[in-house]
Amino acid sequence: MLARAHTFTIEGLHTRHVTVEVDVRPGLPAFTIVGLADAAVREARERVRTAILNSGFEFPGRRITANLAPGDVPKAGPGLDLALGCALLAASGQLPSERLDTHALFGELALSGELRACDGTLAVAQAARERGLTALVVAPARAREARLVEGLEVPVAERLSSAVRVLSGGSADRLREPVSRPLLAAGRQAPPPDLADVRGQHHAVRALVIAAAGGHNSLLSGPPGTGKTMLAQRLPSILPLLSDEEAIEVTRIRSILGSAPLELVRRRPFRAPHHSITTAGLIGGGQRRSVGEVVLAHNGVLFLDELSEFARSTLDALRQPLEEGRVAIARARHAAVYPARFMLVAATNPCPCGHAGQGDRCGCTETELARHRRRLSGPLVDRIDLLPPLVREAPDTLGETPLTCSRGALERVIEARERQAARLGVEGIALNAHMDASVLRRHIRLDARCDSMMASAREQGLLSVRGQHRVLRVARTIADLNGSDRVRSQDLGGALALRPEATLGGRRAA
C-alpha cells in the first residue's frame, strides 16, 4: 500500500518542498530510503523504527520503500523524520491518509517517540502557506515561531502519537507558556546602550545621527580610546525598529541559523565580526553553514572594528553586498543568493601607531603612513559616505552634558526617514544612501549658493565624481534632518566637512 506526506528541507536560506512516498508490500523485511538523502536522513530509519515501536504502533515486518521526491534535490537534516514516520503508518493502515494531503509535517523523532523541533521552522511555515497547505504540525518548542505566519494552522504535537491524533482529526496538544528564564529574558529586553553615555565628540555623534537617518555607510577614525567602538555600539539605539516585512526576514534568518527566537525580532541586528574573519565567514560559502555575517546583518548594522587589519580580499568581497544589497554565492556544490542589505560602520586608527594628529606623539614614518592609507583605500572606502574624525578630548569633557540621548536622536531619525520615504517612494527606495546618480539628480534640490560651492569644489580638485555624489547624498540627509525641503549651503557645508577624502586624502604624499 502507498502513502504520501508533505514536508520541507532547507538549503542555505531557502526551503524546498519534499513529498515523502512510502510503499509497504510483502517481501523480505527491509527499510530502504531513496532520493538523495544525506547522512542525517538515512539515519532516520533507525529513529523512525524505534519511535514507532515506542509509541505503541506496529512496525510492519515487510518490504518498505521510502522515496523522497523530487529525486534531484539533496535533502538534509532530521526534519523529515515526522513525515517519514506518518507516511509509513498511513501506508501500513494505522493512520487515515486524507489529512496527509493538507498538513505539512516537520520535526525530528526521538527514540522515545517524542517530537523534537528543528531549525528553520519559520521558513518552513512560510513555504507551507505558499504551497497552499492548511496546517503545519510542529513540536512545541518552535511552534510560536511558526504561528507568526498568518493563514496557517499550527497544531502542536509533543509526540508521534499526538501527531497521529491530529492527523486522524483529533485535538492538538496545548502549547504551554515558555519556561521563564529570568536571566535570558532580561538580556533580551535590556535596552541597547544609549548615546547619552557619550561625553564630548559632538561632531562624531552628529555624524552618527546623519548616518542613521540616511542609511549611510561610515568610517570612524581616531586615536585609540576616543570612543570609536563605543559610538558604533550605540548606532542600533538610534535606528527605527524593523518594519513587519523586515522583521519577518530577520526572524526567518535567525530561525534557520539556529538561534530560536520566541517572537518576532524587532530590533535591528548588530554584527561585529573580529578582524581575523575569513571571506567565507563574512560572505558565506564554506562546508556546512553557508551563510555569512553579511546575511546575519541584513536590515541591520555590520560593524568592522580595526578596518585596516581585515584581509584585503575579505574586504573586497563586501563590494557586491554593499552595492546590490544581496550576496550571490556560487560554489562547486551549491549556488544561492541571499539578502544582505546592511549599514556598514567601520572604525580605524588614523595611522599604524594610532597617534597621528597629536603633535609629536605619532612616531610613524612616511612609508608606514603610506602603507596604512593604501590598506584603507580601494573599493570598500569608495562606498563610504561619511568619515567623522574623532580626536582625543580634554579630560574635563567627562563632566560635560552629553549632546543628545538616543530617544531624542531616534525621533529626529524617524522624522528624517519619513521625509525620505515620502520623496523617494516613487523611485522604489527608502533611504538617501541608496540614491544612484540619476535619482540623485532628480531629488537633490540644491539652492543657488550650493551650486557655486560644488563648482568650486570641482575646480579645486577636492572631489572626484563619485565623491561629489557622496557629498550630495549626505547633504540631502542633513537637509532632511533639519526639516528643510531644499539643500541649503549649511547642509552642504556639513557634508563637505565630513567627506572621507578630507581625512584619508594623501595630502602628505604630495
Binding site: 564630548g200 565628540q201 559632538h202 561632531h203 552628529r206 577614525s221 581616531g222 586615536p223 588614523p350 595611522c351 597621528a356 594628529g357 597629536q358 603633535g359 609629536d360 605619532c362 614614518t365 612616511e366 612609508t367 603610506a370 568619515l387 574624525p389 580626536v391 578630548e393 560651492m453 568650486s456 569644489a457 579645486q460 577636492l462 533639519n482 549651503s489 549649511q490 547642509d491 552642504l492 557645508g493 556639513g494 563637505l496 566637512a497 578630507a502 581625512t503 586624502g505 594623501g506 595630502r507 602628505r508 604624499a509 604630495a510
Partner: protein, 367 residues
C-alpha cells in the same frame, strides 16, 4: 677610451671615474658618515687619498679596477644627462672645494644651467614634518617660485617634498638633489613628483645610475643643496643631527642660514628655534626670504592671497580661530555655537584654499 656619442656635451672621463669611485666606496662611506663633518672631510679628498682612506684590504683590486676604468661600464638611465666641471655650463657655485665635480641630471643639463641663473634658495628640514611645517614649506615654495626664485632641496619626505610641490603648484620649477642613482626608482608616493620635476624642473645626483641611496649619500646631497643656494631656509627641524645637517654645512660654507620659528613646546621645532637663538635670520614667509636675497619686488601674490584680501568677516573670524589652535569642528562649535554656520565656514575656507586638512582630519591654515 670611448666617449658617449649621443650626449651633447658629456662629462669627461675623470669626472665620471670619480662618481664611479664614490659608488664603489658607498658602503665604506656609509660606515664612516655618522658624523657630517667627518663625511665632508672625506669628500674633499682626491681619488687616490679617498681609496687609501676607505678601501682597506681591497685597495689593490680597487686600484687596478680604477686604472682600467671605462665609462661605458656605467649604466645609462633613461633621459639622464651628465655635466662636469670641465664644461663651461657647470654651475659656478659647484666649482668650490668640496663640491662634486659632476652631476647626473634628469631634465637636461641645459635646464639646470637655466634654473641656476636665477637666485636659488634651499628649503630644507626634517624628513617627518608636522602639518604646520609641511604647509609652511609648501607656501615658501609657492611664494618664492612665483617670484622667480629657484627652489633647491633634497628629495626626501617631509619639508623637501612639500617645498618642491609648492613650487610646482605656483607653476614654477625647482631643482631636487637625489641621494642615489637617478634610475633607482623613487618610492611610489614620490613618483609623480619626480615626473613633474623632470618635465619642468630638474632632478640631479652626483652618483651614477644603479647606485642605491644610503645615509651618507642623502647627507652628501644636502651638501650640494647648501653649495647651490645663496640662502638656506630651515623650515622645521628637531634637534637631531640629520635634521640640522644642511644648516651646519651651509654655515660652514658661509652661506646665509634662515629659519622658520615654531612652537617652543614642540619637539619638531627645537632645531629651528635653536638656530634662531644662534643668530639665524628669522623667516615668516616668502617676503622675508626675498628681502634676504635683496630682491625688492613684493612677493607675487598667488590666488589664495587675493581671496584672503576679500574675505567676509565671519570667515576671517573662523580662520583666525583655527590659526590659534582650535583646529577641530568641536572646538570651534563650542566657541561659536551654530553648528551649520561653523561647518559651512570651514568648508568654504577649504574651498577657497585657505584651510586644508592635516593628520586625523584636523584643519590646518595655509599660510
Amino acid at each position: 677610451m670611448s666617449r658617449r656619442a649621443d650626449d651633447p656635451e658629456p662629462a669627461c672621463e675623470d669626472c665620471l671615474r670619480r662618481s664611479w669611485l664614490l659608488a664603489r666606496l658607498s658602503v665604506g662611506l656609509d660606515y664612516r658618515c655618522i658624523d657630517v663633518t667627518r663625511l665632508m672631510e672625506l669628500l674633499v679628498l682626491d681619488d687616490e687619498r679617498l681609496m687609501h682612506a676607505l678601501a682597506g684590504r681591497r685597495r689593490a683590486t680597487l686600484r687596478s679596477d680604477y686604472l682600467r676604468f671605462d665609462s661605458a661600464e656605467i649604466p645609462r638611465g633613461d633621459g639622464v644627462g651628465t655635466v662636469c666641471r670641465h664644461d663651461a655650463g657647470y654651475p659656478s657655485a659647484l666649482r668650490s672645494c668640496g663640491a662634486p665635480p659632476m652631476l647626473y641630471v634628469l631634465g637636461g643639463p641645459g635646464r639646470l644651467g637655466e634654473l641656476l641663473r636665477r637666485p636659488a634658495v634651499a628649503v630644507v628640514g626634517s624628513h617627518k614634518a608636522s602639518d604646520y611645517g609641511a604647509e609652511m614649506a609648501r607656501s615658501l615654495g609657492r611664494g618664492l617660485s612665483a617670484s622667480g626664485v629657484t627652489i633647491v632641496s633634497g628629495l626626501s619626505d617631509g619639508i623637501a617634498v612639500a617645498a618642491q610641490s609648492g613650487a610646482l603648484e605656483a607653476g614654477g620649477a625647482g631643482l631636487a638633489l637625489a641621494g642615489g642613482g637617478l634610475d633607482v626608482g623613487p618610492p611610489a608616493r614620490r613618483r609623480s613628483l619626480v615626473e613633474r620635476l623632470t618635465r619642468s624642473g630638474c632632478v640631479a645626483s652626483e652618483l651614477p645610475c644603479g647606485c642605491e641611496g644610503r645615509r651618507w649619500s642623502s647627507a652628501a646631497a644636502e651638501r650640494i643643496v647648501a653649495h647651490l643656494a645663496k640662502v638656506t631656509v630651515v623650515v622645521e627641524a628637531s634637534d637631531s643631527a640629520p635634521d640640522l645637517a644642511s644648516a651646519a654645512i651651509a654655515r660652514s660654507l658661509g652661506r646665509t642660514v634662515a629659519a622658520v620659528p615654531g612652537r617652543v613646546t614642540s619637539r619638531s621645532s627645537r632645531g629651528t628655534n635653536a638656530l634662531l637663538m644662534d643668530g639665524a635670520r628669522l623667516v615668516r614667509g616668502a617676503q622675508d626670504v626675498l628681502e634676504l636675497l635683496h630682491i625688492d619686488s613684493p612677493a607675487v601674490s598667488v590666488g589664495e592671497a587675493v581671496a584672503r584680501a576679500r574675505l567676509e568677516p565671519r570667515l576671517v573670524e573662523v580662520l583666525e580661530q583655527v590659526g590659534e589652535g582650535r583646529d577641530t569642528a568641536d572646538k570651534l562649535i563650542d566657541r561659536t555655537g551654530d553648528v551649520g554656520e561653523v561647518l559651512l565656514a570651514l568648508s568654504e575656507l577649504e574651498l577657497l584654499g585657505l584651510l586644508t586638512r592635516g593628520e586625523g582630519g584636523r584643519y590646518v591654515p595655509r599660510p
